[in-house]
């Protein structure tokens, strides 16, 4: 099984904007979402819709704790997930002085304590973006800020980006026909402004900035939490060696990714494009062979 050579299609790529052909360009921008300080207020959801004039999409009580937005989509570019998990720790015998940050982030209360995980999900603006790779019209493109944006004046609604995204972010908007997703406030970045969700976030769970600087901040925050005994904390999408070359919008989570509806080990489909074309070629060859063989037989 030959592994495709690490190229600009897959694996570590420190400067996607340069790789996309920008001679001089600003530093790569991104989000670091520290879910350990998210209070699930959904200001990000409203600020994003208000700025980008995204239509409201449905008044439905889902029963999924306080999440009635359900998931990211063409008309939900920020989605706050809520997960209630009972803590099966036995009743605290003698906590004495409350240790700073009990053994896990959740507040322990009485007998069966409960943890309430909250996280604001967003497009990951991947280093290797499958949506961009498969877009046949060039509507999806890499901006000078290293982010991934759909150009509404080009997209013809072919929908290929939708099954290509390993995180299930982008979608077609039924009443419009085109694909939509978070643009990391591309227009605001052009004027050196902070994206609407990051500006609104009351507890700076959503942090915007240069991606490398955000990586440092995230590493420090992770160390701080581990030192406080919150060892369920982990970073997600920070590793430039992962299946999508690291995300432009990465997270600090307090549980397994799939608990939040995130894929545990997402890989950009383009990593196997070499093998895919190879097998298509072989199959075409097989068809030719069958075709030729069909005419070689005795004349009947």
């Amino acid at each position: 099984m030959s592994t495709p050579v690490e190229s600009s299609l897959w694996g570590r790529l420190d400067d996607p904007a340069a790789d996309a052909g920008y001679a001089d360009h600003p530093k790569r921008k991104g989000f670091f979402t520290d879910t350990s300080v998210c209070i699930g207020c959904k200001a990000c959801e409203v600020a994003c819709k208000e700025w980008n004039q995204v239509p409201d999409d449905g008044f439905l009580l889902t029963g999924m704790s306080y999440d009635n937005s359900q998931q990211l989509g063409a008309s939900t570019w920020r989605h706050v997930a809520f997960v209630e998990k009972p803590i099966d720790v036995p009743a605290p015998v003698d906590l004495g002085m409350p240790t700073i940050g009990s053994e896990d982030q959740g507040a322990v209360s009485g007998d069966a304590g409960v943890r309430w995980l909250m996280s604001s999900d967003v497009c990951k603006h991947c280093t290797h973006a499958a949506c961009l790779d498969v877009c046949p019209t060039g509507a999806l493109f890499r901006t000078e800020f290293g982010t991934v944006v759909v150009q509404p004046d080009v997209c013809n609604g072919c929908g290929y980006c939708v099954p290509a995204c390993p995180y299930g972010v982008i979608d077609l908007r039924k009443e419009d026909g085109r694909a939509f997703k978070c643009t990391l406030c591309y227009d605001r970045l052009k004027d050196d402004q902070t994206p609407a969700c990051a500006q609104a976030c009351p507890t700076e769970s959503i942090q915007f900035g240069d991606l490398d600087e955000l990586h440092e901040r995230a590493d420090r925050r992770l160390a701080e939490l581990h030192e406080k005994g919150v060892d369920v904390a982990r970073l997600y999408g920070r590793d430039p060696e992962d299946g999508v070359g690291g995300d432009g919008a990465f997270f600090l989570l307090l549980d397994e990714p799939e608990v939040y509806g995130l894929p545990p080990d997402p890989v950009v489909t383009t990593r196997d494009i070499g093998s895919i074309w190879k097998h298509v070629g072989a199959a075409a060859g097989a068809l030719v062979a069958v075709g030729v063989a069909s005419f070689l037989g005795r004349r009947r």
Binding site: C41, E50, D56, P92, I100, G106, V108, E204
Partner: protein, 861 residues
């Protein structure tokens, strides 16, 4: 706090990151609990027992900040020997008159000195006269209410400072009385009343003590979780006692912060559209107590503390109302003030509406049909008016009750039989008018006008200015004495072409002007001779040097952390009140870490990051001569400059209608007998006896569960400003109730199914969210289930629903007449009955619970 004040919560996250321990006490595990280190589930309405347990822990372990307590509180004061505590009278204090349901506080005073000075004697007679003269009918009670709320920014006057035992050993010193009073609140008792385990109580207590003292401070934040109870004022009092014992008042990172719920609710009590106070917390004139201007000011005038200058504040207010017509010889038009004679609060007014005694009603950005307690009572009142004026942004239920209100559906009201004439006048939004809000830290912030209001929408300023102008025009020729106050009113504000008065001129009038018409810069400049006019003395300074201080926007990165040049905080732009207490008695900071205000000996004045809350040049060792009056009587070690004795009150000798010390009583509707005393409910609670306000009998099996209402981040109070907006409604689209898995199993409630919640007022329906975040509480050997009800929905809006406020009964706190939002109820699976079947269903519950037809005549008429 993360639920209803999310942006304020950033500072809690900041504190947590610096090592603070965040403790969240709430019946439910909320978004605040998710970020807290410890969540303490508590039975709604039992907060005094919990806080009492903490006070008991501090006192029984001598863990108080002794130096602070002795110097700055009245712990050392000796109380009169006639005083009897709830320990002696099984839940009552001395001086209770069961017939009128009031206390006579004379036995709560400090022990009289052997040789009282002439002034002290005179004051003593005056106070006694006031008590007896008040008599036992409605007047006395109104006096108490007017008096306690009138002390919004200062304690009631005491005749003398009395004897003090600084060793705190004297059996009748406040410290010992407090110790005995709270000795009953043991960890076991707290478990039985609140459902909080002794381990957790100790954990919270130890954390509080560890974070108090010279080097560290602890803060309390609260909202209507404390205020909306029949013992609400006393709940906050318990926290004040705790914080005084721990030395956390007047210090950075300490104090008790009210998280008020609306953009300018603080402004709405500072410049009150409230029945019992005038701007600056001056009491409304009372028909009995205030026969003359002097008598009106007698309570405070001349006493120690800044309330001593009340004459200059009052006269300046009357000058700003009636200008040149107010002269010394007519007591500055004192006679123009209408007099209160009792309780004219909102719920009592609604009762008057139902009984046809109040026929005209203005609703100005308020939606009582779903926002006030006992919605049905509110709507029945609305249906009995002659005319109703509603000013709002959206078509709210209070304007459409006659068309599609719940009573139309049940047939209790018929549209064609409702005679109320309704005017709906569109209002301008916050960006379509200039003006100032006062936020929860007493900061005034100016809003500039961004755009014109659409169509007929106008600001309230414009509407009331025009209404006043028209009324004055229509009465211009009148010679009738009753119209003088209107005709002599100063009402000539410069207005634009839309008739909108220039808001800054109104703020300038509030700020006050001197003899030469120039804007004043501090309330100390106010005079009692009529040479100054001031609409609200505590706001004097907001327009100093003719600049609108509320409009200052100096970025925080160009200021220190106190950021004094952003907006303006009353009084005198001071940020932390009583901050003299952030320094030791000798004027030095308690510690380097908590340095805030200190005495600069060389300069001979107090200095620090904030405006000192003290007389600038009053040295710490200053002792006032005998008989000193007003500010002159403030000792160098008296941080509480609004109190006549300059001390923080652990024991309130006067000023509270329901006792000098907090005592746990059960809410009016409770699932269990009061474990602490024989006295079940607050003996001085104000109940409202009317047919539409029946109460569930306590500890009845028919209504076994406790319910409490609360807000969600995504909506705003009764929803008028949020359930009409798609972006907010889609976040929390439908009304729901939150129940524990155990209750769901007990009553067969399904997640996302429907449930009917019923009290003796009415029944409502809501979807069910079964969640571990609502806990079954073990109280002693019984288990109590609580039902959570967010109250953002009503018949109008993008997603209609029933309003939980219809379930709530009206029984009020005696000090401030705020209703108790806790109640008992039953809950059944399935949707509620429709039409007239609903009233029959509720009637059946009333019958089974043995609810009398109209509640027995409440203690107060």
């Amino acid at each position: 706090m993360a639920e209803a004040h999310p942006v304020g919560f950033q500072w809690v996250v900041e504190a947590k990151r610096r090592g603070a321990t965040i403790i969240h006490v709430d019946p439910r595990f909320t978004r605040t609990s998710a970020l807290a280190d410890v969540h303490v589930p508590i039975r709604a309405g039992s907060d005094i027992a919990f806080l009492g347990g903490l006070v008991n822990h501090v006192l029984s372990n001598d863990a108080d900040f002794r130096e602070y307590v002795v110097a700055y509180t009245n712990a050392a004061n000796i109380v009169d020997s006639d005083f009897q505590d709830t320990e002696d009278l099984d839940g009552l204090f001395s001086g209770y008159d069961p017939e009128s349901g009031h206390y006579d506080p004379t036995t709560w005073r400090y022990e009289p000195p052997e040789d009282p000075t002439s002034d002290e004697q005179e004051l003593q007679q005056e106070l006694e006269h006031e008590e007896h003269e008040g008599g036992s009918d409605g007047h006395a009670q109104a006096h108490l209410a007017a008096q306690s709320e009138a002390r919004g920014s200062g304690g009631a006057a005491v005749p003398w400072k009395g004897r003090r035992d600084e060793t705190l050993q004297h059996p009748r010193c406040v410290y010992q009385i407090l110790k005995r009073h709270f000795s009953r609140y043991t960890p076991e008792m707290v478990q039985e009343v609140c459902g909080i385990s002794p381990e957790q109580l100790r954990q919270v207590a130890e954390s509080l003590v560890a974070n108090s003292g010279r080097e560290r401070t602890a803060a309390f934040c609260y909202a209507v979780g404390w205020t909306q109870h029949t013992t609400g004022a006393q709940m906050i009092r318990t926290a004040s006692i705790l914080q005084l014992l721990l030395g956390n008042i007047g210090r950075p990172g300490g104090g008790i912060m009210a998280l008020r719920g609306h953009a300018s609710i603080q402004g709405s009590t500072d410049i009150p559209t409230l029945f019992n106070i005038l701007p600056g917390y001056l009491p409304m004139r009372h028909a009995d107590q205030h026969q003359s201007l002097d008598q009106w000011l007698a309570d405070d005038e001349g006493k120690a503390g800044f309330w001593g200058e009340s004459r200059s504040y009052a006269v300046s207010l009357l000058k700003s109302y009636w200008g040149d017509a107010a002269t010394p010889d007519n007591d500055f038009c004192f006679d123009y003030l209408p007099r209160v004679t009792g309780d004219h609060s909102s719920y009592t007014t609604v009762k008057a509406q139902i009984e046809g005694r109040c026929k005209g009603y203005f609703l100005v950005g308020e939606n009582p049909a779903v926002g006030s307690a006992n919605g049905k009572m509110q709507r029945l009142g609305l249906a009995n008016l002659d005319w109703l004026v509603v000013r709002d942004l959206q078509m709210i239920e209070s304007a459409t009750f006659w068309k599609d209100g719940p009573e139309i559906e049940t047939g209790e009201l018929v549209t064609e039989e409702i005679g109320t004439e309704v005017f709906f006048l569109p209002a301008a939004s916050h960006v379509e008018k200039a003006g100032s809000f006062t936020q929860t830290q007493r900061m005034l912030q100016w809003r500039d006008k961004a755009v014109e209001p659409p169509g007929d929408a106008r600001s309230e300023l414009q509407f009331y200015f025009q209404l006043g102008k028209r009324i004055r025009q229509k009465l211009a020729g009148s010679t009738d004495e009753m119209d003088r106050p209107l005709l002599d009113l100063t009402w000539d504000y410069p207005a634009d072409e839309l008739g909108d008065p220039e808001p800054e001129t109104v703020l300038r009038e509030i700020n006050g002007t001197g003899p030469d018409g120039a804007a004043l810069s501090a309330y100390t400049e106010l005079k009692a001779d009529g040479s100054t006019a001031c609409g609200c003395w505590i706001y004097c300074g907001v327009y100093a040097d003719e600049t609108n201080m509320a409009r200052r926007r100096k970025p925080h990165w160009e200021q220190n952390q106190v950021a004094p040049e952003w907006g303006w905080v009353w009084p005198a732009n001071r940020r932390i009140l009583y901050n003299r207490a952030s320094a030791a008695p000798d004027g030095s900071p308690w510690s380097e870490r908590k340095r805030y205000i200190w005495w600069d000996a060389d300069e001979g004045k107090w200095t620090g990051d904030d405006v000192p809350d003290f007389i600038p040049d009053r040295s710490p060792d200053y002792v006032p001569e005998d008989g000193a009056k007003g500010p002159a009587a403030i000792r160098g070690t008296d941080p509480f400059i609004m109190q006549t004795d300059g001390k923080g009150w652990l024991f309130a000798t006067v000023g509270l209608a329901d006792g000098p010390m907090p005592t746990h009583y059960e809410p009016p509707e409770s699932p269990l007998p009061n474990p602490l005393y024989q006295q079940q409910n607050n003996p001085t609670r104000r109940s409202l006896a009317t047919a539409s306000n029946p109460l569930n009998p306590s500890y009845t099996e028919v209504f076994p569960y406790v319910f409490t209402t609360y807000r969600l981040t995504e909506h705003h109070t009764a929803g008028g400003m949020s359930r009409t907006l798609p972006y907010l409604t889609e976040l929390q689209p439908e009304p729901f109730c939150e129940v524990s898995p155990r209750l769901a199993a007990e009553r067969g409630l399904e997640h996302l199914g429907w449930a009917t919640i019923v009290t003796s007022r009415t029944a409502i329906e809501a979807r069910v969210l079964v969640t571990d975040r609502v806990r079954s509480l073990r109280l002693g050997d019984r288990t109590i289930e609580q039902i959570g009800l967010p109250y953002h929905w009503g018949p109008n809006g993008l997603v209609p629903g029933d309003s939980p406020n219809d379930l709530v009964n009206v029984t009020m706190d005696p000090n401030v007449y705020i209703q108790d939002k806790v109640g008992t109820c039953d809950i059944r699976p399935g949707r509620r009955p429709r039409g007239s079947a609903l009233t029959a269903y509720v009637e059946e519950y009333r019958r089974r619970a043995g609810v009398e037809e109209t509640t027995t005549e409440g203690t107060q008429g």
